[in-house]
Each structure stands twice: as structure tokens, then as C-alpha cells.
């Protein structure tokens, strides 16, 4: 790998998951000087999270990572660099990291996404993890989160998490999918065009069936119990709106819970740069990108989950498109028209599949009825659902941002990354309306994206 002086980068790619890797390799191949920045110890992002010397066993689409890594020979790769702010300069941008700044003319933001959560009584108990957290422990560190695990939430990601646990020797006491993925049938064409992805899901299901792991739809973990850590969960059947079917509750003993309700794009950098956002097909806030992967802010390109969660295949396509177009505008490298046309066709097909997935796994508002007034919504500031609702009812908040200012949900160390979605939903419901993009944007602004020391700030 090469190393440029900081001032010499033409394109900085922020995030080294599938989208960022594809963008960096593509732009470098087109002749641009590219710096790729990621907080992790190794490239690959959450999707290819792995250990040093990992040979790819148990990883999906590993050959693609091997190919992309080989393409990094012409890229200045800066792993273990946590970006805390990106600012505009006269000639482009300065990317501030905890290990110095990188100047560039163009940025490609590929910061990915993290698990979206809805709170439930007991979700703050040790032993309750995000589904992605359990996956990261397993793939990134070779550690099984627990011995007897319950997996719950909604979305296709629950399956590889459960299958990975089974293969690692855990007893999976059940996979409880709150949705009813039969909804898939509503978009048969989008699904047929991506049959490979269905086969992948079927493979995970097979692993679960072989171990006789119960897989239940329209069912979820609605509470967790324990003193110093989780000891059991309450599992219940849900109606169409995700309200608990009376009398369906049962207790399942476990030492670990993995939960995830889809994903939230990591948008602090696009928001810092003033990029326009909108409500995505899955109800999360996403950044707006055009068919060249351009954000609404000049000089900023977006690729992967920041544009709307769609999986690794879509991220790779968007990364390549962003790399080609960023190289065109930054160093004048003309992309091959046929390649661009093919990528756009793939993007359309994969986006349609992602939207079919989202349509089949919506988060229904009934989860709010699982909460009692004392259930914590904001884990950092320990703000309960009752306090959030009271900010609307008693203090007059009419949007999530005002509720945050009055009651402090989202004011803690995570800056609302974990509770932002739930807070926006609860406040909107209390106001008698659906959550809007403005609600989510109101809890997504984070001028400093990572903890920094005063020394870093002074130098920046």
C-alpha cells in the first residue's frame, strides 16, 4: 500500500466496508490518488468483520474482499483512524481523525449502518446485545456471546446471526421474527431477479432446521428478566400492528438475547456536510444520492447503506458507481459508458429487492405497547418512556428534537444513535401522527462524530 502526504489526496473515501472498498479501488484504478479511512483495525467493515489471518471460512462472499484488498495496492489505506468531523475548505474538504487530518478535493461517504433498536422492558440488562454486536463478537473476535441464546427482531439479518451462533456451538432457544415475511410475495419480480439472495437465506434456515431451532414469525421478545443480567425473556405472538396477542406470552430461559429491527444508516458525516436526507423505504433516515451517487452537497458522493440499507451487493455497485463518477469529476477520468449502464441496471434491480425486503419487514407501531412507563428508552441518560411521553403531554413538545431538549433522550454519550428512532416514533405517536424525516433528522445531527480530546480539537 502506498502512503501520500496528507495534502496530496484527491479523493478521500470514508469507511472501508463493501461500498468504501469498491469506491476506493475503482477510483484508484481510474487514476485518482485515493485515501481510504476507517476506524477499524482491518478493512472490510461490519460485513466482512474478521480476525487477523482469517481465511474466510464462515464469511459470505469472501473472494470479493480478497479481490478488493488486492486492488488497494494503489490506495493510501488508513485503518484505526476514527473520523470525528469533516469540514469544507476552499479547495475541497478536511477530514479530521483522531490521528490527524486528511485534505482532499472530493469525499465519498461510505460509513454504513448499525442495528436499529426498539426498546422493551429489560433491554438494558447485560446479556442483551444487538444482533450485529453478537455477530461482531463472533466474526471479529471469535467469541460466542452466550450459551443459550434467543434471537429476535425483524429482517433477514436475524438468520445469519442465529446460524452463526449454532455453528459456533451455542444453543439457540428460538428465532422470533416480529414480521411475517410472507409479505415478500407482493414483489415477485424483484425477488425473482435476486434469487441468489433467497438461496442464501434458505441456507441459513436449513442450518437452523437441522439443529431444530424454533423459527417463529409474528412473534417477538417483548420483555427480558434478570437481576445482574438476563435470565429469561417473555416471548409473545403479535397482531398485525405488533400488539401482544393476549394470553400468548410465555417465558423462555436464556443467558443471552440478540435483537435487531433492521438498520440505521450512519449519517453524522453527510449531515455535517449539509447533505439532504429523506425517509427511506424502511422508515430510517437516509441520505439523498442521484444516479451518479452524488449527494446534494457539491463534491460529496455517497455509497452503500448511507443511501438506504440494501445489503452488500448493492453497496458494491454503489461504491463502484461513486468511484467512477468521483474520478471523472476530480481527475477527469472518463468512465466506460457500458460499465456505468450495467451498474445502473444492477443498482435498480438490487434496490428493488431491498425495497421488497423492507416492505416485508416493516416495524409496526405496536412495539410501543410493550413498554411500561418505566421502560428506559435512552440507555445513556436513563430516560424512560414515561418521561419521553410526558415531554409531549405535559411539557408541550411536538417533535423529537424538542422532547430531547426537555427530557434528555439522546443527550448521552451515544448522542441518540441508539434511541433516536424510538424517541422519534414515541413522540410522533404521542402527537397522534406518523414519524417524519424531520423527526429523525432532529435527532441525527452530531457535529462531533466521535469522542475527541480537547487537544485534538485544538489541533483540528
Amino acid at each position: 500500500m502506498v502512503s501520500f502526504p496528507a495534502e496530496a489526496a484527491e479523493i478521500a473515501v470514508l469507511g472501508a466496508g463493501p461500498a468504501g472498498l469498491a469506491a476506493a479501488v475503482t477510483a484508484a484504478s481510474a487514476g485518482a490518488r485515493v485515501t481510504l479511512i476507517d476506524a477499524g483495525a482491518r478493512v472490510g467493515g461490519q460485513f466482512w468483520r474478521h480476525r487477523e489471518g482469517d481465511d474466510g471460512v464462515g464469511h459470505h462472499d469472501w473472494p470479493t474482499l480478497v479481490r478488493l484488498r488486492a486492488g488497494l495496492s494503489r490506495v493510501d489505506v488508513r485503518t484505526r483512524h476514527a473520523i470525528w468531523h469533516v469540514e469544507r475548505t476552499e479547495s475541497g474538504f478536511t477530514v479530521n481523525t483522531d490521528r490527524g487530518a486528511v485534505s482532499c478535493r472530493t469525499v465519498i461517504v461510505a460509513t454504513g449502518a448499525y442495528d436499529r433498536q426498539v426498546p422493551f422492558p429489560g433491554w438494558t440488562l447485560p446479556g442483551v446485545y444487538t444482533a450485529g454486536g453478537v455477530q461482531s463478537l463472533l466474526k471479529g473476535h471469535g467469541v460466542r456471546a452466550g450459551n443459550r441464546v434467543v434471537v429476535s427482531g425483524t429482517g433477514p439479518f436475524l438468520l445469519p446471526v442465529a446460524a452463526g451462533l449454532v455453528e459456533a456451538g451455542a444453543e439457540v432457544a428460538g428465532v422470533f421474527e416480529a414480521g411475517s415475511p410472507a409479505g415478500f410475495a407482493r414483489s415477485p419480480l424483484a425477488v425473482l431477479a435476486n434469487a441468489g439472495k433467497l438461496a442464501e437465506g434458505a441456507g441459513y434456515l436449513k442450518t437452523l432446521l437441522r439443529q431444530r431451532v424454533p423459527y417463529r414469525t409474528r412473534t417477538a421478545v417483548v420483555a427480558a428478566q434478570g437481576t445482574d443480567g438476563v435470565e429469561s425473556v417473555t416471548v409473545a405472538s403479535l397482531d398485525r400492528q405488533w400488539r401482544i396477542v393476549p394470553g400468548s406470552e410465555r417465558t423462555v430461559a436464556c443467558d443471552t438475547v440478540a435483537v435487531g429491527y433492521g438498520f440505521t444508516p450512519q449519517l453524522e458525516l453527510p449531515v455535517q456536510l449539509g447533505c439532504e436526507t429523506r425517509l427511506g423505504a424502511d422508515g430510517s433516515l437516509v441520505a439523498v444520492a442521484d444516479d451518479r451517487q452524488r449527494a446534494t452537497t457539491p463534491g460529496v458522493y455517497l455509497a452503500g447503506e448511507v443511501c438506504g440499507v440494501g445489503g452488500s451487493a448493492l453497496s458494491l455497485v454503489e461504491g463502484e458507481l461513486a468511484g467512477l463518477h468521483a474520478a471523472l469529476t476530480t481527475v477527469g477520468a472518463e468512465p466506460n459508458r457500458d460499465t456505468v449502464a450495467r451498474l445502473l441496471r444492477q443498482r435498480k434491480s438490487l434496490r428493488a429487492f431491498a425495497n421488497a425486503m423492507h416492505a416485508a419487514h416493516p416495524v409496526r407501531p405496536g412495539w410501543q405497547t410493550w413498554l411500561d412507563d418505566g421502560t428506559q428508552v435512552c440507555r445513556c441518560e436513563e430516560v424512560s418512556a414515561g418521561t419521553v411521553r410526558s415531554a409531549v403531554k405535559d411539557l408541550g413538545a411536538t417533535d423529537a428534537r424538542t422532547a430531547k431538549l426537555l427530557a434528555r433522550p439522546g443527550m448521552g454519550l451515544c448522542q441518540g444513535r441508539v434511541c433516536g428512532y424510538a424517541t422519534a416514533c414515541l413522540v410522533a405517536a404521542e402527537c397522534g401522527r406518523e414519524p417524519t424525516a424531520a423527526d429523525l433528522a432532529g435527532v441525527a445531527a452530531r457535529p462531533i462524530a466521535q469522542p475527541v480530546t480537547l487537544g485534538d480539537l485544538a489541533r483540528g
Partner: protein, 92 residues
């Protein structure tokens, strides 16, 4: 078999694999929580596992406010639980 790393937690020696995070090594050793919250003193450990939630804060070699899920464990590290706001430059 990968390289071993020895560190201490609450004065007890723990053996981890090189490259593991403090959080992963603690979980592998059977610990689920090592922090108490500021207001309620409730136990917390890893939640998101990828540096997003800040639930897994821990004291590493006297420095509080370290995210256990992101901090790679080093030989001889002295790891202590973090109570309340912790102390030091990253305290909340």
C-alpha cells in the same frame, strides 16, 4: 492457536487471544457487565459491540471512558470496572 495475551480484570488474571477487544475477552472469560450507570447504578456491558452505544465503557490502565468493544487488549493491561461517570478526560 493464536498468540495469548495476559491481562488483569478486578485483580484476576485473564488470558485472551491476541487481537481481541477488551470486551470480547471479558465476555469469553464469563463477564457480562463491568460498568454501572450514572443515575441508577445499573450494570452494563457490551450492547452494540461496534462502538456505537458507549454502554461498555471501562477503565483501561487507569484511563476511564474506553469503549471495551473497540479497545484491543494488550499484554499486562490492568482493566477495572467503571462506576458512574468515571474520571478523566472522557468522563461524561
Amino acid at each position: 492457536m493464536s498468540e495469548r495475551v495476559r491481562f488483569s480484570f478486578r485483580g484476576q488474571e485473564i488470558v485472551a487471544e491476541a487481537g481481541q477487544s477488551v470486551g470480547a475477552a471479558l465476555i469469553a472469560a464469563g463477564h457480562r457487565s463491568w460498568r454501572t450507570t450514572r443515575h441508577e447504578g445499573a450494570p452494563r456491558g457490551v450492547f452494540c459491540g461496534i462502538g456505537v452505544c458507549f454502554d461498555c465503557l471501562v477503565v483501561v490502565n487507569g484511563k476511564p471512558g474506553r469503549r471495551a468493544c473497540l479497545t484491543e487488549v494488550r499484554p499486562g493491561d490492568v482493566i477495572e470496572p467503571q462506576e458512574g461517570a468515571g474520571r478523566g478526560e472522557l468522563s461524561c
